[in-house]
Structure formats: C-alpha cells, structure tokens
C-alpha cells in the first residue's frame, strides 16, 4: 500500500473545496470585521452626516448613508455584532442541549430515551416563531431571551439526528471492543461516538446558524430586536424598505450581506459533509489520486492462448473465451476462458478479490459497480451473449439461472414466496394467463417439493423474513429452477449457511442435476464443496485463470503453486498442534498487478524468469491448463501435500 499516511485535517479538506473556501473566507471576514467594529468601522454607528442623507456609495461613505446621514457600512458592521451574538447564544444552547440529550438518548436507551424522544416530539410540534414572539412580549426587547428560546426550540432536530446515529454506532463491534478495553461510558461517547458525528453536528450547526441569522434579522425588521437608534441587520432592512422609493440603493448594503451570510453557511455545511467522509473512507479499490490507470496490455500479453482454445467450443453448453471485465476503467478480470459441458459441474475457486464473482456475473452481462464487459465471447447454446443485450435478456432466467450467496437478495420481502414463484413460472411459460393460474400454482408446489421444502403449501404463503437461511436458499433455488434452466450459476450458494444446512443444499443440487440434467457453474472458496460437487475446476488468481483441470487430478497433483498453496492451507487436512501451511501475503488489488506472474510475490518457487514477462497458460498434460513457468518441474516433482 502506497497511499500517503498523513491526511490533511478536516479544515484543510474543507478549504480545498472552492465553495468551502469561499464560505469560510466570507464568514471569517464578517466575524472579524463585526467583532472588531470599533476598529474596522470608519465611523460610529450613530454618527450623523446630515450633509449626505440617503447618499449612494462615495469615497466618504463606501456603502452610502441612510435617511439620517449615518454611514451604512459602519451601521452594518456594528449591527452585525448583535447578529453574531444572537447566533452564538442560540447555537450554544442548541448544541449543548442537542448533543447531550441526543447522545444520552441514543446511547443509554431505556427511560432516558423514552423521556427525551417524547419531549423532543412535543417540542417539535410547537410553532417556534410564535413561542419566540411570546417570549419577547414577556421580556420586551430582550433579544437574549428570544435567542436562547430559539436555541431550545431548535434542539429537537439535532437530538433526533444524533439519537438515530448513536443507536447505530452503539451496536458497532468497535464500541463493544472499547467496553472490553475498559473505557468508561463517557470515554466511549467522547472517543468513539462523538467523533463519528462531529461533521454531522457541524453541518447541522451551520444550517441552524443560517436560520438564526434570518430569524434575528426578521425580529429586527419587526422592531422586536435592537431598539432604534441601535443598529441591527433587520433594522437596516426595515429602514431600507421605508425609504425604498427615495433610495432603492439602501436595500443593497442592507440585504446582500444577509443573503450572502445565509448562503455561505449553507455552502459550508455541504462542504463539511463532503470533506468529512473523504477523510477515512478510502476504498481499497479506488486508485489514489494522481495515479493513472495502467494501459491495457495487448491481447497476447493478457492471455497467451493455448493452441485450440481460441475458438469457442461448439460442443460446450457455455463457452467463454477471453472474457475481460473492467470496473471504473480498471481491468479486474482479464482473458478468462473456460467451457461448461451440458450436465457438467464446473467449480471456480480462488480467494476473495480474484474475480470469481465478477466472472460469473460477467457471463450474465451483469457486471457490478458500474463496470462493463470489455471484451471476449460468451457463447451459450451456440449464441454469443457478449454485447448482445437482447440475447442476454432472453437467456437470463430461462436458459441461465443465477443463485447468489445471499438468498434474501433474490426474494422480495413484500410478497409471499409462493406469489414470487408463481410470477416467475408464468413469466417463463408465457402461456395463456387464465389457464395457467392453477397450473402455475401446481408448478410452484412442485418446485418447492423439488427443493425439499416440507409442507410446501404453507411455505408458499410465507414471507421471506419468516424463513430460516437454509429455507430461503432453497426457495431461491426453486426460483432459479422456475424457468427450467440449462445452466445454473451459483455464487457461493452455501457460504452463508451452517455446515449441516450446506450439506443438505449440496445434496439438493446434486439431486437436481441428476434429475434435470442441467449444468452448474459454482463459485466457491471451499475445497470441500469442489470435491463434493464438481467434475472440473478452474482456479482464478488476480483476475486470471491460473489452473484448470478435472477435480481429481487437481487434488492429487496441482500444477500451479497457488492451487497447491490453497489446497494445503486447509485446517481439514492438518493435524492439531502443528502450524498450518500458509500462503504468505494477500491477493494484489487490480491496480497493483505486476507485469510478470501475478502470484510471484507470494510464491515459494519464484525465480527471475517468473517476473520477467506475463506468464502464458500452457497445457503440460492433456486436458489440463496452468499458468506457471515452472509447471514442468511441478509435474515431475509433484507437490508434497
């Protein structure tokens, strides 16, 4: 990993955005100028220059004067003080009440939560501005009271947001780990919960400030804030509107700063939100900024074809040739070729990140993450599917079915499973609707029986969430079978299940295959599943096929060091007590793929020849393929297992 270790702080990241920089610039300038109005203002706020009444901008009065000849710039700056104070007062109240109660309610739960949420709901329903007006009528002219009240009335919004955030974070394992580490409740809140929310709090604070500025100006406009002749922004607008027919210009200095300030606070909120996430959410896949995507290598580089394997195999049900897939412009699968014969089961093995799932989905033209099939042929039943959306749509579901690791993804939570199955059955049969309603139901029950669901009539009426993981996977398989597919693509269909349930699903798949004669392409990382189910197997590493063989030969004599390493690193085989054989290191990310053998960094047999140039797939013995410079050596020596 070569990304820079030190990251700029939140402020630096906000300032790097143009909108953030502009907003911060304006707010800092405004704060400094108004706070130090006694120094920055050219005149006193009440100083009258009766010679220039209602004058436009001039050298003496940069922003002009009002009806009493007072300098507008000075009044603006002095008036800004009360705005600043108002924002500070209500913001402080808003933040203290909002964070304390929001965190407490979310983290402590129980009666605290009950009380806080009820009170917050109640306050939310109150008309804020009316309450403020009531307060002002009780304490006439007391803007402090009004602003503090407004802060209190605004806090339920913050409470709600922080509460729901805290609820989520409370369940995170790192909070459990911190508890185990002995951190006190307040330490956990301070170190783990609050920091996750700082940006959220700042964003809310910025938006709330914008509201306070408007409200404060509104009160000033109504004459409820600072009493004349004291300046305030709202008062300036009121003055300007009174003189609008005599001096329209006055509205500009009175109104524009107000509008800009409100907009700046909004922009600041947005900039912080974006910058905060950028800080730590560095996906491993994303190329670091400034790095260029490696140029796609030439076709021969990507895959040196073994004689005879270039043309799709006409005898195969599915014949994939030179399939390449790109995600975000980066190749993640390159030059993958394999065949699946009718009735055969082919396993695709490899560690995560090797491109197994992307290959399986690429066959269906469903590349995740906005990627695309960049090249190659996918010939199914004599028709090339790659680059032919119409053919793909025809084949998906009926010719080729797909089952994923997560059965719930395939099932719609809002409908009973029977209805979903019936819909699939009808879609595939395309027969007359009226006659098929009963027939479809019969077929649904038949499908559920096929996947060994006890009491299929009852299960058909259930919703997906009422099924256990194993049942849901059975239903997902039934759904896949609805169109009588010739090929079933199963991506880790048993990984999320318990072993006993996995064994049942594997038995089920075997049985179904024997019954229907469909071919299966199964993606897995479990050698046990390969041994149990597959006839042949393809091993993938870093986006390429590195070995292909019938299962028995692969297990007895792997011809690629990666296959050998994967087979050996299996706790099923090692005795207790002794260390397990491992493959050091990890799979390189697509952007880190080396020119030469992609496994070189982890290979115990590596020599200079390996890293020199891309390694071609070769056929050291009939019907077996391997991508290793030293495959002959492996063939002779064998791999000790």
């Amino acid at each position: 990993m070569s990304t820079a270790a030190k990251r700029p702080g939140l402020l630096a990241r906000v300032v790097r955005r143009p909108s953030g920089a502009a907003a911060i610039g304006w707010l800092v300038l405004l704060t400094a100028a108004t706070a130090g109005a006694s120094f920055t203002a050219p005149r006193g706020p009440l100083e009258q220059d009766l010679g220039h009444v209602l004058a436009g901008p001039s050298g003496g009065h940069l922003l002009g004067t009002d009806n009493l000849g007072r300098d507008l710039l000075s009044r603006l700056l002095f008036g800004g003080r009360s705005t600043l104070l108002a924002v500070a007062e209500s913001l402080l109240v808003y933040l203290v009440i909002g964070t304390v109660l929001g965190l407490a309610s979310g983290y402590l739960g129980g009666w605290v939560d009950w009380l806080v949420t009820r009170t917050a709901d109640l306050m939310f329903a109150l008309p804020g501005i009316i309450i403020v007006l009531v307060v002002l009528s009780v304490f006439p002219g007391n803007l402090h009271a009004a602003m503090i009240t407004f802060g209190v009335l605004g806090s339920p919004g913050l409470i709600r947001i922080l509460r729901s955030q805290t609820l989520g974070i409370r369940e995170e394992l790192y909070v459990a780990a911190a508890k185990v580490a002995g951190l006190t409740r307040s330490q956990i809140l301070r170190r783990h919960v609050l920091p996750r929310m700082t940006s959220m709090v700042i964003v809310q604070a910025a938006l709330f400030s914008a509201i306070v500025v408007t409200i404060q100006a509104g009160l000033g406009f109504l004459g409820l804030g600072a009493q004349p002749p004291d300046p305030s922004w709202g008062g300036l607008v009121a003055d300007a509107s009174q003189n609008i027919d005599r001096d329209p210009w006055m509205l500009v200095p009175a109104g524009i700063p107000l509008v800009i300030t409100v907009i700046a606070l909004g922009l600041l909120g947005d900039a912080i939100r974006d910058a905060a996430i950028e800080g730590w959410s560095v996906s491993k896949m994303a190329a670091p900024p400034g790095r260029t995507v490696p140029a796609p290598r030439s076709a021969e580089d990507a895959v040196a074809p073994v004689e005879g394997s270039i043309e799709p195999d006409a005898r195969a049900l599915l014949s994939v040739r030179n399939l390449s897939v790109e995600i975000g412009g980066i190749p993640v699968v390159q030059g993958v070729s394999f065949d699946v014969m009718a009735g055969e089961t082919l396993g695709v093995v490899g560690e995560s990140g090797c491109g197994k799932s992307v290959t399986a989905l690429g066959v269906l033209g469903l590349v995740p993450g906005g990627g695309r099939v960049a090249g190659g042929q996918v010939v199914f039943d004599g028709v090339d599917l790659a680059g032919s959306p119409a053919e793909l749509a025809r084949v998906r579901g009926s010719g080729i079915a797909y089952v994923s690791q997560e059965p719930m993804v395939a099932l719609d939570p809002t409908f009973p499973v029977g209805r979903q199955l019936a819909e699939a059955v009808r879609r595939h049969s395309r027969a007359d609707r009226r006659t098929t309603r009963a027939a479809a139901h019969r077929r649904v029950i038949e499908l559920l029986t096929m996947v060994n669901i006890p009491d299929p009539e009852a299960v058909a009426g259930r919703y997906p969430h009422q099924l256990s993981g194993g049942m849901a996977q059975r239903v997902a398989i039934a759904l896949a079978l609805a169109g009588d597919p010739k090929l079933l693509i199963a991506d880790e269909p048993t990984t999320a299940l318990d072993v006993t349930v996995q064994a049942e699903i594997l038995t089920l798949l075997r049985g179904l295959q024997a019954e229907t004669g469909m071919a299966v392409l199964i993606v897995t990382h479990d050698w046990g599943v390969v041994a149990d189910l597959c006839h042949r197997s393809v091993v993938m590493y870093a986006g390429q096929v590195v070995e292909q063989a019938d299962v028995e030969s692969m297990f007895t004599l792997p011809l690629h060091p990666y296959t050998a390493g994967l087979l050996a690193a299996n706790p099923h085989l090692a005795g207790g007590g002794e260390p397990l054989p491992t493959i050091p290191g990890t799979v390189p990310a697509p952007r880190d793929w080396p020119q030469g053998c992609r496994f070189a960094a982890r290979c115990s047999r590596v020599t200079d020849a390996c890293a020199a140039a891309p390694v071609a797939l070769t056929r050291p013995v009939p019907d077996r393929l391997t991508r290793c410079v030293h495959s002959q050596q492996l063939l002779v020596e064998g791999t000790p297992r």
């Binding site: 990993m1 990304t3 270790a5 995170e172 394992l173 790192y174 459990a176 780990a177 911190a178 508890k179 185990v180 580490a181 002995g182 951190l183 006190t184 170190r191 800080g279 730590w280 959410s281 560095v282 491993k284 560690e351 995560s352 060994n452 669901i453 006890p454 194993g470 059975r474 318990d498 072993v499 006993t500 349930v501 996995q502 064994a503 049942e504 594997l506 050698w527 046990g528 599943v529 390969v530 041994a531 299962v551 028995e552 297990f555 390493g565 994967l566 087979l567 690193a569 299996n570 706790p571 099923h572 085989l573 207790g576 260390p579 397990l580 054989p581 491992t582 493959i583 050091p584 990890t586």
Partner: protein
C-alpha cells in the same frame, strides 16, 4: 476448581426479551465450562446456538439470567464497571467481523493505544513504542499505526484486532469467530498467529467458531453447543475422531471432505445409510433439543431432556468426555460396554466428574 483454572462458567443462562407479551428467548441454557491456564477451549455449534452470547456474557456485554462466571477465582457475573475496567487488562476479545470491529474514523495507532490510556498512565513515546512492538508481533509494518482501517484487507484488520486485544498482555482472549470471515489461506495465517501467540505469551483462548475442523485445529478441548445447550464436550481430537452425540456426528458428517475420492465414498455411505432428517423440521418444545432432527430419536427423547453426563467408557480414552444423549451408551459405546445399554432408559448415572 483447580488453582490454574482461568475461567469457570457454571450453569450460565442468558435470556433475551422479545416484546412484552411473549416469553423471553433463552439463548444460553445452563451451560458450564472451564478453561485452564494456557488452554484453548473450542465452542462449536451452528448459527444461533448461543456461542457468541456465551462469550459476550463473559465479557459483560450481555445480561446474565442465572449462573456464575468466575475469572481467576473472582466472581465476575455481575461485575460493576469499575471492576470490569480492572478486568479488561486480563480479559480481552477478538470479534468475527474485522470490518466493524475497528472504528473507521480513527487511525490504527489511536485504536491500539486506547487500552493503554485506560490502564497505564504512560507517556506518548512509550505508548508509540508499545504499539509498534505489538504491530510487529502480529506481522504488520510499523507505518500501519498512521493509517485508517479502510486501507486494510480483512486478514490485516484481523491481525490489528488481535494486536489490540494483546496490548495489555491479557490472560484470556475470547476469540469470537476470528477467522470465519477470512479466505482459506488468510485463515491459516491468522490461526498460526493465534497459536504462536499462545505459546509465546501463555494465553488461554475461548475459541468460538462454527467450523469443526478449524476449532479442532486450535483447541485442546471442544464444547459442542446446540440451541443454547451443551450437547457434547471432550478432548478435541477425541471428539473429532469419535463423536458420541448424534448432533456432533451430524456436524462432522456435514463437513465435505476436501478430497474427491474420500468425499465420494462418504456420500455413498450416507446414501446407503438411508434418509437423514432435514434441518427444515420444526423443533419440539420439550425433551432433547436435537430430537426433531435426530435420526436415532426414540419416545423418551421427545419428553425428557437428557442430562449432560460422562460418557460411559470415556475414561478409557483419557477421560473428560461428556454427552447429553439418552442413547449415548447404546448408540456409541466408546469401549465394549460392560452393561449393555437399555434402549429408552436413562443411561446409568455415574455421578459428577
């Protein structure tokens, strides 16, 4: 309780409330187990069997309904936060999910330093030194400390989580499925690391996993759990090689053998043996927890809950084997039974261990 017993759980029961009306759900049902110094006890069982709940109860993260938990001789069943804080130096945890167990917004260095801040008031330089040392020990480069979790793979994160658990030199580490989310080759790396650390630092582990071969590889003793109850326990190799309880047998038989020839033979055997009972059968409320799936169930299994008793003949194979099955003796005599098991009656009670 022998002096070197680190953890002693007696009759632990954990219940979760599920709404106002319905009775609470019993996730752990009077489970007893002990862990000696330097020992690894493996806890296996399928999803929802209560494995994690036991671990979390020991850590004080779950409420305990009844039962006692002793750690290094002291009762920690309902330890107050102050006591827990003390404990945390000696009792640590590694969670299953390497993605949510590290705070994504904090650097690794800050995460690792955290336990030190709680327990020892040591300087920044010393803290940094300890962090680097621990990272090196789990095989991570020193510059790891300045990075964020988002920049590491699952296996690397799991190493980091292990480093965090070891910062204070604990005596017992609860490993809740530490390798389940990892690839085979990475899983082997982490398992070897755990084994190395154990012998270097004389740690004890409560090793929780759903994969019997994984558990067997690291554990000295295995406890098999089903629906919150202990089905069988004993020395790891014995339980693995010769399971007594029908559930343990089912669990083992379900693991596909990573060898096509062996697996084919096993399949043939299974098919010859006839129909197995599918997991889709609904469970019964009384009797043996496994009765609804047990191919050997007889009448008594549905009405009377079997006790966890020493396996007859178990002494011969080194001792310490227990099973909760009415038919343990007649279904699976470990030695030639002196008294032939009487089907349908309780196995002779041979008292406590």
């Amino acid at each position: 309780m022998t002096p070197q017993t680190i953890l002693d759980i007696q009759d632990l029961t954990v219940e979760f409330r599920q709404g106002r009306r319905t009775a609470p759900f019993r996730a752990v049902d009077s489970v007893s187990l002990t862990i000696a110094a330097g020992e690894t006890v493996g806890l296996v069982g399928e999803s929802g069997s209560g494995k994690s709940t036991i671990g979390r109860a020991v850590l004080g993260l779950n409420p305990v309904r009844s039962g006692r938990i002793h750690f290094e001789g002291a009762d920690i069943t309902s330890a107050r936060p102050g006591v827990r804080r003390e404990l945390s130096a000696r009792l640590q945890v590694v969670f299953q999910d390497p993605y949510s167990s590290l705070n994504p917004a904090r650097t690794i260095g800050r995460t690792l330093a955290e336990p030190l801040l709680v327990h020892r008031k040591i300087g920044a330089a010393e803290t940094a030194e300890r962090v680097t040392e621990m990272l090196a020990r789990v095989g991570m480069p020193a510059d790891t400390a300045n990075r964020y979790p988002g920049q590491f793979s699952g296996g690397q994160r799991q190493r980091i989580a292990i480093a965090r658990a070891l910062m204070l030199s604990p005596r017992l580490v609860i490993c809740d499925e530490p390798v389940s989310a990892l690839d085979l080759s990475i899983q082997a790396q982490v398992m070897n690391l755990l084994a190395d650390l154990q012998s270097e630092l004389s740690l004890s582990y409560l090793f929780i996993a759903h994969d019997l071969p994984v558990v067997r590889h690291l554990s000295h003793r295995i406890v098999v759990l089903y629906r919150g109850q202990v089905m069988e326990s004993g020395p790891a190799d014995d339980v693995y090689a010769d399971p007594v309880h029908p559930y343990t047998q089912a669990l083992l038989a379900a693991v596909p053998e990573p060898d096509p020839r062996v697996q084919r033979a096993r399949r043939a055997d299974k098919e010859a043996a006839g129909a197995t009972v599918l997991s889709t059968q609904p469970p019964a409320a009384t009797g043996c927890a496994f009765a609804h799936r047990c191919p050997h169930a007889i009448d008594i299994c549905h009405s009377l809950r079997p006790e966890l008793l020493p396996v007859p003949g178990g002494e011969a194979s080194g001792g310490g084997r227990t099973a909760a099955c009415h038919r343990a003796a007649d279904l699976h005599p470990l030695t030639v039974p002196a008294h032939s098991g009487i089907t349908g009656e309780e196995v002779p009670c041979s008292g406590n261990e």
